[in-house]
């Protein structure tokens, strides 16, 4: 076990940090799952951080000049390169410390933040490069399962069957025709010390995972499920409920991979049917019972596979 992690006691409702590195007053939609998750992630990380944000919802809603929601150093360069920018920041901190140009004992967590498009599609190469090179940084993917900032276009993280503006259901289409790309598994394949999935419905678990990602030396990847009322056709007040349902239906399982070893952090022994999750969202409204059944079979099979990985 990684010594930094064994020493970590974990957050509880009694010791939640008071500081809010990401200030309120941003322009996110009501019920935005990304901003909720990001707020919790930043609370876990604290203020000794440098955030490298990819273009996307979180970048847009937190930084309309002359306003900013960021109480910590923050940089946005472009869409596909948050991991590469973070690589440069991390390398600079290392050399500046060696040269006595930055306090040697002051630890700074370098954090890259991107959406599912900025991670799984356009940013995948930069992410892979940074993970492979072993930079000491945390990569947070806020996955709302489509390009929401540009008006709900499909990404490779859009789930099978979902309706988006570029995966519309029609006479020859059921909506998204491909299965969601499994980015956490891609991260695991890089042999990095820490990978986790998290959900804003389980906020202490999310904060603990982000903190652990920061504590380990080397690259860490946290994939966070983030409901999007605007893109999914759901009510803002239902976001957290939906996030919980995604976990309870095994659609978005919560787990950690520490030095290659899988740990399921919330075992689902009495799963709810995926139908319950799908029916709650406009993006899945067109799905037939046959397709819902197909999704159920796939979700069951993937969860079984995950359980087997955890037994290894």
């Amino acid at each position: 076990m990684i010594p930094e992690l064994t020493k970590f006691k974990g957050f509880s409702v009694k010791n939640l940090p008071k500081e809010e590195p990401l200030a309120p007053g941003h322009r996110a939609c009501q019920g935005c799952g990304e901003i909720l998750a990001l707020r919790m992630a930043m609370k876990a990380l604290g203020t000794d951080v440098i955030v490298c944000n990819a273009t996307g919802c979180m970048e847009i809603v937190t930084s309309p000049f002359p306003h900013t929601s960021w109480r910590v150093p923050w940089i946005h360069i472009a869409f596909e390169n948050a991991a590469a920018v973070a690589s440069g920041v991390e390398a600079a901190l290392k050399v500046l410390k060696r040269h006595g140009r930055f306090p040697k004992n002051r630890h700074v967590d370098v954090v890259a933040v991107a959406g599912d498009g900025g991670t799984a599609d356009i940013g995948l190469q930069a992410l892979s490069g940074a993970l492979e090179r072993g930079h000491d940084f945390v990569y947070i993917c806020l996955d709302n399962e489509a390009y929401m900032n540009t008006g709900v276009q499909r990404s490779s993280c859009t789930p099978f069957g979902a309706m988006t503006t570029t995966s519309p259901p029609g006479a020859r289409s059921i909506g998204q025709m491909t299965w969601k790309k499994n980015v956490p598994q891609i991260a695991v394949a890089h042999g990095i010390p820490y990978v986790a999935t998290a959900s804003p419905a389980f906020f202490l678990d999310l904060m603990n995972k982000v903190k652990k990602a920061a504590l380990v030396k080397g690259p860490a990847y946290v994939h966070i499920y983030a409901p999007c009322p605007t893109g999914w056709g759901t009510k803002g007040e239902d976001s957290i409920k939906l996030a919980r349902l995604a976990v309870d239906t095994k659609i978005f399982p919560l787990y950690e991979v520490i030095e290659g070893k899988y740990y399921i952090t919330r075992k689902i022994t009495k799963p709810k049917p995926v139908e319950e999750y799908l029916k709650a969202q406009r993006r899945f409204r067109h799905l037939t019972p046959e397709i819902i059944e197909e999704i159920q079979r796939r979700v069951d099979a993937e969860y079984e596979r995950l359980l087997k990985l955890a037994e290894l």
Partner: protein, 392 residues
């Protein structure tokens, strides 16, 4: 004063980066830039240069990581060529807008297709509007000097703009030349450590790269342009200081035997050396021919340029890049625009030569000077002429 040594120019450039005490290098290999970054890797590996070398997975990440590093306050260097520069294109615009003064050497090479590893200027000419300070070296000594100067210029608090030093791929990057590498103490006295006013530091948080809504975008771009134009004062001051310390002079527009010339050729980069030989030969024949090259290409040195060409009858501008379907090569088009409202201006004839490693010989330069002389009395019909292309 350093000793004169024979060195491959790429190696000398890497040594200059070391003398400048670069702290972060992020680079991806591409011919003909490779010898520069290979030697830098060696210098880092054997501890001669205490820097972080990031072996990025693409040029896009090379420039992205460079911006992250320089934003954090580290002196940062990168280098590329051709397709690599084209891949960086998107990010190149962001560096000057965020005032992130990275220094980059571009070993100029043709763009695909057909794929060509050989020298011309089509890579850099496609990047004229990125907002970087752009300098050109003619020989190894200039390359070494310009790289060290580039850090001082770029990082000056009154400048804070990224800077490119152009060197011709192969014809300059891979040749062995006599160069004087300044002593470390001399460089240290000339180039202070990089201390930016604004950087990513948890002790003093700031937001870098925010959204520019329509109410602010235009003002931000105008402010950038004004600051960019003002960088020329610092550039001239740095060159004056360099001349005082090292005895080698640098000017925004470099001229050769131009005093009483009626005709001049204009070419950027290392082939200006061949052009000088041609000028000498033509001078011996009594032809009043001179030579001009841009040292500073961005910001465009319009005053110095207009002054240099004022007495000429014809100016033959040699482009080493093509603007398909355009009204001339990039250099020719811009020079014409720069002179259009000038009180005194020569006729401008535009040649396209030396694409994709095609040699431009002394005879080619003579031919172009003769063509230029021919147009002294007659307006050229075509927007440009190509030189040295087989017709069948």
């Amino acid at each position: 004063m350093g000793k004169k040594v024979a060195k491959e120019v790429s190696i000398a450039i890497a040594d200059a980066v070391k003398l400048a005490r670069a702290e972060v290098i992020a680079a991806y290999p591409i011919t003909p830039q490779t010898h520069i970054v290979e030697h830098l890797s060696e210098l880092v590996a054997n501890g001669e240069l205490d820097a972080e070398y990031i072996t990025v997975e693409s040029e896009h990440s090379a420039i992205s990581a460079s911006l992250g590093a320089v934003a954090t306050g580290a002196r940062t260097f990168t280098s590329t060529s051709s397709q690599g520069l084209a891949l960086m294109h998107e990010i190149l615009f962001i560096a000057p807008a965020l005032r992130l003064p990275v220094v980059m050497v571009v070993a100029n090479r043709a763009l695909s297709a057909p794929i060509s590893i050989w020298n011309d200027h089509s890579d850099i000419m496609a990047q004229r509007d990125i907002g970087w300070i752009q300098l050109w070296a003619e020989n190894g000594q200039e390359a070494v000097d310009l790289v060290i100067q580039a850090f001082r210029i770029a990082e000056d608090r009154n400048v804070m703009f990224p800077t490119i030093v152009n060197i011709d791929g192969f014809t300059l990057s891979h040749v062995i030349e006599p160069v004087i590498l300044p002593e470390q103490e001399e460089v240290d006295a000339f180039l202070p450590p990089f201390r930016p006013k604004y950087k990513l530091d948890p002790r003093k948080p700031l937001t870098m790269g925010p959204v520019g809504v329509p109410e602010i975008y235009f003002e931000a771009k105008k402010a950038q342009d004004e600051a960019f134009k003002n960088s020329r004062k610092v550039i001239l001051r740095v060159w004056k200081d360099w001349a005082n310390r090292f005895g080698r002079e640098y000017h925004p527009v470099e001229t050769y035997r131009l005093e009483d010339a009626e005709i001049a050729l204009l070419i950027n980069g290392s082939l200006a050396e061949t052009a000088m030989t041609a000028v000498d030969k033509m001078r011996e024949q009594g032809k009043k021919v001179g030579l001009i090259r841009f040292r500073l290409w961005r910001p465009f040195p319009i005053q110095e340029f207009r002054k240099a060409v004022a007495g000429l009858k014809v100016l033959g501008v040699i482009d080493r890049a093509l603007t398909p379907g355009g009204v001339g090569g990039p250099l020719g088009t811009e020079v014409r625009a720069a002179l259009y409202n000038a009180a005194r201006r020569p006729r401008v004839v535009n040649f396209i030569a030396g694409l994709g490693g095609r040699d431009i010989t002394v005879e080619d330069f003579e031919e172009m000077a003769d063509r230029a002389a021919f147009y002294m009395k007659k307006r050229p019909k075509e927007a440009y002429e190509t030189i040295g292309v087989r017709e069948s």
